[in-house]
């Protein structure tokens, strides 16, 4: 490949990333939110996902899989890094001061959503890492089982099985503490 062709290819990749940003920013933010349980931080990390993608576009190899799978892999890595860095902090000072972002137009709604995300995230901590990834990509990333299989390099059948086990376990975790209460619809 000549330097000009390389340059053109890189430019195409970057344009694709910019296009994915427009269509997938929300999904990536929701995916990270469900992984880390924090909406405001998820928005910042989602921004970082696309910046990282842009910076490493050169290393992206087009293997036929959609580019979004690669974007979600970066998002997954960032979410894991964030969780690790939070664990490393000896005293949760940052957490204490880190109040959920509140929408001035709907502060109550924002608080409720934050609390729901935290509850979901809390329950998902009891699942295996693979199960967490499957549900996060399905629910928040709005991916089909086939797309999740691409991201996680597994077969669609394996993904469906993990999904089924995960939903069953999550149901047990989320229903038990609320016996007598009606689940949110």
């Amino acid at each position: 490949m000549t330097p000009e062709e390389k340059s053109e290819e890189l430019s195409r990749k970057r344009t694709s990333i910019a296009a994915l940003f427009e269509t997938h920013f929300g999904r990536v933010a929701r995916y990270i939110a469900v992984r880390i349980g924090d909406i405001a931080m998820a928005e910042d990390l989602a921004s970082e996902v696309f910046v990282r993608a842009l910076r490493s576009a050169e290393n992206y190899k087009d293997t036929g899989a959609p580019m979004e799978s690669w974007i979600f892999r970066i998002a997954g890595n960032l979410a894991i890094d964030h969780l690790r860095s939070m664990k490393r902090r000896p005293v949760p000072v940052y957490l204490d001061e880190h109040t959920p972002a509140v929408d001035d137009n709907d502060p109550e709604g924002t608080m409720i959503r934050q609390s729901e995300i935290e509850e979901l995230n809390h329950a998902m901590q009891r699942l295996s890492e693979a199960q967490r990834q499957v549900l996060s990509l399905r629910f928040a990333g709005e991916m089909t089982s086939e797309q999740v299989a691409e991201v996680l390099s597994k077969s669609p059948g394996a993904i469906r099985q993990m999904q089924s086990d995960a939903v069953k376990k999550l149901r047990q975790l989320m229903v038990k503490p609320q016996t007598g209460q009606q689940g949110k619809q």
Binding site: P3, V34, E43, D44, F50, L54, R55, D81, R113
Partner: protein
Amino acid sequence: MSKDFEIILDECIDRILIKGATVEDCLASYPEKASELGPHLHLVTRANSSLSFTPSTAAKDRARQRLQAVKRELEQKERITRSSVPIRKRFAFSFRPVAVLAVFLIIATIMASSIGTVAASGSSLPGELLYPVKRATEQARLALELSQAGKAELHLSYAERRSEEISELVERGNTQKLEIALESLNESIEEASRSASAVQDSTALENLKSQLENSATRTIANLQTVATKAPEAKRSQTDAKVQTVSAAYGKAVEKVASRTKDPHTVAAPGIIQFWATNPPSGVERVKIEVGRIEAHLVAGPESQWVTVVSEPQIFDLVRLAETQKFLGEQKAKPGTYTRIKFEIIRATVVSGGKEIAVKLPSNSVTLVRPFTIEEGRTTRVFLDFDGEKSLLATGQAEFILSPNVHALVNRPAQDGLRPEKENPAKKPAETREALRPPVKMDMEGTIEEVASASFTVKGKSIIINSSTKMNRPLEKGEKARVEALLQSDNTIVAIKVEMENKLREKPTPTPATESKRGQPEAKPPQEQAKKPTTEHVKGNIESISPPQWTVKGREILLSKDTKIEGTPAVGFQAEVEGILQPDNKILATNIKITGSRPQPTPKLQDKPAGQQSTGQKKEAERRTPSASKAGEQGTRPSPSPSLSASPKPTPKPSPRPRDD
């Protein structure tokens, strides 16, 4: 759970999540499975409802602006790269007997350390033929070093070497040895800490603490850059290692700091002061309002953010060209602080007489910069805004502030606590400027002017002296990368100038020694004044406070290029050769320790004076490189805003349906 059920559940989840069907719709399609399927689908709906937020338009706008800024930056870098020819080519050997050659070269090292092959191994990288020689040479030097302080210094210099190797490995895309190199870096820091813990002499401990802090700043900044360039697969590992390295430095600084405390000092809080400095160009005013400034204290198992400045402060970055702005101070618990965090509330630019609101991609900036607060002493932290990099013009009358800030920390003031009413902001400019140590800075740009002893890049005049290294003579209109020292009087002295390679027909004379071709012979008076004047001072060393010494009443500045012959100590006689600076200080090029200590005085070494004088010359030769490193008080600016500044979440989601 049967396979059929998994498929049905999957299909129903698709219908609910992607096509917007209800649970009832799905159950109607599979009445025989309704009792089993229903509870699962209700849970899916509930989870889906929890995730029904959409990032706010403001958050997405900020992310878009950041993305566009990064895209522009990358494209600009590539344009520069494409227009340049590779600076160096490396040679590869194809034969195998590495071990045999290494043994031979180790012997060669011991027999005659100036053999060219050993020197060549200095630039080798992990996995390369000569790398074992490089490491063996380091071990040999360590074995020859007798003092613990010297060993600690050597380990620190090796830590920085490992950091440079890591950077080079990533640049070349060779990441197989990355983990090993990071491990070696960590080991060097731990070894430095171990050696430092055996040092008894308080002056040597003070010096080591300062070197540790400077080494930490440079290494962590470098590794943060590396982490962003590492391949995706290695990134999380690299990030984790950077954290480990940062923690190792933090512990080492803390350990040394705890031993430098004077047991007779009355326990009292230290003081942290924050100052803002350094302007941009091309605009008339840049007003920045900063909010809370905090520093992160690590004290054993305790760890906390300490608020230093709580009231918002406004300053004009352009005016910082002439002065520095005092932002605030606070009494603080003594200990090691590893990070600094501050908020930017708003920023405006005055350009062409018009005030324009500047967009802020992030409101929070976090800097990794370990420093120590000592009991009863004042530590000044300079938030050095790189105006050129911080303010991005994104279009017509549109600016983004992407703060590129380096934290520069001076050593704790020796004169104890500052009286409360003495406001440093009201002190004369000369006094305030004298507080700032020389700062290492990197610049890149087109050479606008070349004079006999200076040149101009981005409108800034840079002085060349006999220590300035250049890959070839300077030429107007060509691009150059400059490593320089920003002196306390704001003059810039070049350490290294790297010109982009271009095919040329014949070499031109070095501007430091001869006039440039086609330049008028008569120089403007200002340029004449900057012509380096060599100074020579001989006398007793009166004080050593890196990067500055006092010899016979004269202030001597040291840089990493300063050559030191002999073991320096207060009271020893020294012959200094150097370049006279505009502030009358001497930037030393060569220092020769000629005499022995006339009377017992505090010393730099951690050995008894008797032992020093007997093996002085031999030891001094071994110590020279690390001793000159002690002069590097200046800190390397952190590489980019996104690396040095970790954004704090502030965006606000709005309750809207999903519509990316």
